[in-house]
């Protein structure tokens, strides 16, 4: 244990030193903490405004919170993904003569920290917002920190370390837990769908005795109710059941023995987690840890091209091998957003009499906010061969990004057509909207390259995206303002032609600037 404590202490000290040396990271931490406090204060005010500022209000929040935590913790521990391991653990910690149980307990320190912080927040909120008596708050805190944490640690240990139970049995237990969790979620959704989401239905839901009878999580909620609202028969019985469950689970976890069988899963998780972090740092949109290895289709076609054009055809070949060709999560997202916007904003947009402006605003907004979407082009910059191709940088830029423009055009069609039809815009406006979407996406892409050129690696991908958004906001803001003024002063049908022509000029200029990036690799 002393080695693990040494490890944590040194990591903390060195990270702190590093944060102090890099004021940007320290400022970010301070900003996040301040934002967190601001959110909590706002939520406290909101609780007062909606008359939630009573012990009953706290019970509602705790009930929902417990269900959420219960669902997520059990699901993650069951799939052995609840604790963050890193490749350095696989190398330096797992082979060391340290008890596998101890390693597990130590590695989950972030989880405990989160529980303690949440416990403190609830305790402060109980005293200041919900008007709960101090002795009740103290008991509540004890339930959260002692009982809940003991339960969580015990379940974690049992699920991770029990190597005596065959793997397939563990798999079935995990599946059983997942089915159970999905069952609870469906029940909650159906309940609120039937009775609507209001303060009354929320209260009625948490007052329903059946909820307290759900094993473990229901009994846990009963303990909260006992402390915050006082005793009744169901509360007392369920709380006793909870105490017994915690004791039995704790004992079982204490007695369980392991020789480190979970290292195999933990090592795989560590690799997947490192891969996920790397992809995130590269600016990709990552939706999960340990995504399955891609399967590619066989393609018999062959392409012939020379110079920079070869980049485009290589990308085309790669996309042809993809399962869904150029269609991606972004296409689905565009379709989903489009259908929602077409339906939800139809009345407002048409009523305003200037749906074109609404539409332009949405397209501009999307061009600004979507930063986590990368195609194959970004990887081109990491390949030395790109710089070796004997062709002009501007041509390399064009052919490296041409496929992205085609993809943007397709996504633009998927996004603009449903909204255009839903808002009853004429065909010309829809076509212009699609073209504007495509050009703006190209602009986003080139501005990003320019941001990379300006910043290098100094601010990381997040910084680059921020600068990219700022540049785009400044440049496109002018175009948007001009087209809006022209729309109001002359004719609304001019909105899209103006923004389209303006963005095309700006994009070509940005593209020319961005082509510098294709001269040499050194700038990376």
């Amino acid at each position: 244990m002393k080695a693990l404590l040494y490890l944590t202490r040194r990591k903390f000290i060195n990270n702190f030193k590093r944060a102090v040396k890099k004021p940007a990271s320290l400022l970010l931490i301070i900003f996040c903490a301040a934002y967190g406090i601001f959110l909590v204060v706002m939520l406290a005010k909101l609780a007062g405004q909606v008359h939630f500022d009573s012990p009953k209000g706290l019970v509602v929040i705790l009930t929902i919170w417990s269900l959420y935590i219960f669902l997520s913790n059990f699901a993650s521990y069951a799939s052995r993904k609840g604790i963050i391991f890193k490749p350095s653990d696989t190398h330096m910690v797992f082979p060391a003569p340290i008890s596998p149980k101890l390693i597990l307990l130590h590695s989950a320190w972030m989880n405990y920290l989160l529980s303690v912080v949440i416990g403190i927040v609830f305790a402060i909120a109980g005293l200041t917002v919900f008007g709960v008596a101090p002795w009740r708050v103290m008991l509540l805190f004890l339930i959260e920190i002692v009982l809940e944490l003991s339960m969580e640690i015990s379940v974690m240990l049992l699920l991770y370390t029990n190597d005596r139970i065959p793997r397939n049995v563990i798999t079935w237990i995990s599946r059983g837990i997942k089915v159970f969790l999905i069952g609870i979620t469906i029940f909650i959704i159906l309940y609120f769908k039937k009775y609507g989401i209001t303060l009354d239905t929320a209260s009625a839901f948490i007052d329903w005795p059946g909820l307290l009878m759900i094993p473990i999580v229901g009994w846990n909620i009963a303990a909260y109710r006992l402390v915050l609202l006082g005793a009744d028969t169901v509360n007392i019985i369920c709380t006793v059941l909870y105490l017994l469950t915690v004791a039995v689970t704790f004992l079982a976890a204490w007695r369980t023995k392991t020789d480190g069988g979970y290292y195999e899963d933990a090592a795989k998780f560590a690799d997947d987690y490192a891969e996920m972090r790397k992809r995130k740092l590269d600016g990709e949109m990552v939706t999960g840890i340990g995504e399955k290895r891609k399967k590619f289709r066989k393609v018999s076609e062959s392409f012939k091209a020379s110079g920079a054009k070869a980049i485009f055809y290589r990308q085309l070949l790669e996309y042809k091998k993809e399962r869904f060709f150029i269609f991606s999560k972004m296409t689905l997202l565009c379709l989903g957003m489009s259908l929602i916007l077409a339906k939800s904003m139809e009345a407002g947009a048409r009523k305003s009499g200037v749906p074109q402006l609404f539409f332009m605003g949405i397209i501009l907004y999307i061009a600004l906010i979507f930063s986590g979407y990368l195609g194959k082009w970004e990887n081109e910059l990491k390949n030395p061969y790109l710089y070796l191709i004997p062709d002009k940088p501007i041509k390399k830029l064009w052919y490296a990004t041409l496929m992205e423009h085609i993809k943007s055009f397709v996504d633009g069609c998927v996004f603009c057509i449903p909204i255009g039809i839903g808002w009853r815009l004429d065909m010309l406006q829809i076509i212009l909207a699609i073209l504007t979407y495509t050009v703006l996406q190209a602009n986003r892409l080139y501005t990003r390259v320019v941001a990379q050129c300006i910043l290098g690696d100094t601010l990381g991908k997040t910084g680059q995206n921020l600068v990219r958004s700022l540049i785009q906001m400044m440049i496109l803001g002018i175009g948007a303002a001009v087209s809006a003024i022209a729309g109001f002063m002359i004719n609304m049908d001019l909105v899209f032609p103006i923004i389209l022509i303006y963005s095309m000029i700006v994009t070509v200029a940005t593209g020319l600037l961005a082509s510098i990036r294709f001269h040499t690799m050194e700038q990376l």
């Binding site: 990591k11 060195n14 696989t90 060391a96 003569p97």
Partner: protein, 236 residues
């Protein structure tokens, strides 16, 4: 000594290692050879306790899964992974504490100096190049003062001086009675080091030689005699 008995490991339906047996006595250097995908890395990871397996692995006659055995065992993986926020020196300090090793400060200094890390002691894990990480990984393994040491492709990424030093270190360990197992593709790197060799192909050990049996034949000849050719099945 390192003994492997009936070691098997499957990934789902794929049998990566099939009933492998071998033994390396104290003070001998064993080399595990074979093409990509033969199962070498899987064996190494099983010995290091990173995978579930069936069969028995003994380190100095103690079950490899026990903490007692782990105290006697050091591991240099193919791809080193450092703690990002720990300095080179702190990595070794961690190892000293984890293994309760009696390695002295002077010995650590000498080790770091030998691998040209003496001026990089305060560098953090995420500031090191791959070659430097490999050197730190080797120093960490040596700081354990092991009875059995396992080196998985240890020469990859090392500069010529470090390779030379590592070869010397392996010889010194052998002279001190330590059991060494090296898994590698680079036959020429272990040519003058090995005492016993094992060749793996398609999840099995297809043959083994000890130095006396090999006579004048070099490692290349022995290897290609057994495998016929250097065919690869792809990484597992």
């Amino acid at each position: 000594m390192l003994e492997i008995q009936d070691l098997s490991k499957s990934y789902g339906k794929y049998l990566a290692v099939d009933k492998v047996n071998f033994f390396i006595p104290d003070g001998q250097v064993g080399v595990l050879l074979g093409p990509n995908g033969a199962g070498k890395s899987t064996i190494i990871k099983c010995i290091a306790g990173l995978l579930r397996y069936t069969g028995r692995i003994g380190i100095q006659a103690i079950d490899a899964k026990t903490l007692e055995a782990k105290r006697l065992f050091a591991y240099v993986p193919e791809i080193p992974s450092m703690f990002e926020a720990l300095t080179v020196r702190e990595h070794i300090e961690y190892i000293r504490r984890a293994y309760n090793s009696n390695v002295t400060d002077e010995e650590i200094e000498a080790m770091l100096s030998r691998f040209d890390l003496d001026d990089k002691q305060d560098k953090l894990g995420n500031e090191l190049s791959k070659g430097m990480m490999q050197k730190v990984s080797i120093c960490c393994a040596l700081a354990v003062k092991p009875k059995v040491i396992l080196l998985d492709e240890p020469m990859v990424g090392l500069d010529p001086k470090a390779i030379k030093e590592l070869k010397e270190v392996v010889k010194e360990l052998r002279d001190q009675g330590v059991t060494v197992l090296i898994s590698t593709h680079m036959l020429e790197m272990v040519e003058n080091l090995w005492d016993v060799m094992f060749v793996m192909e398609k999840s099995h050990i297809i043959g083994s030689y000890n130095k006396a049996e090999a006579g004048e034949k070099d490692l290349d000849d022995l290897f290609f005699e057994m495998t016929g050719s250097w065919e690869t099945d792809g990484d597992s």
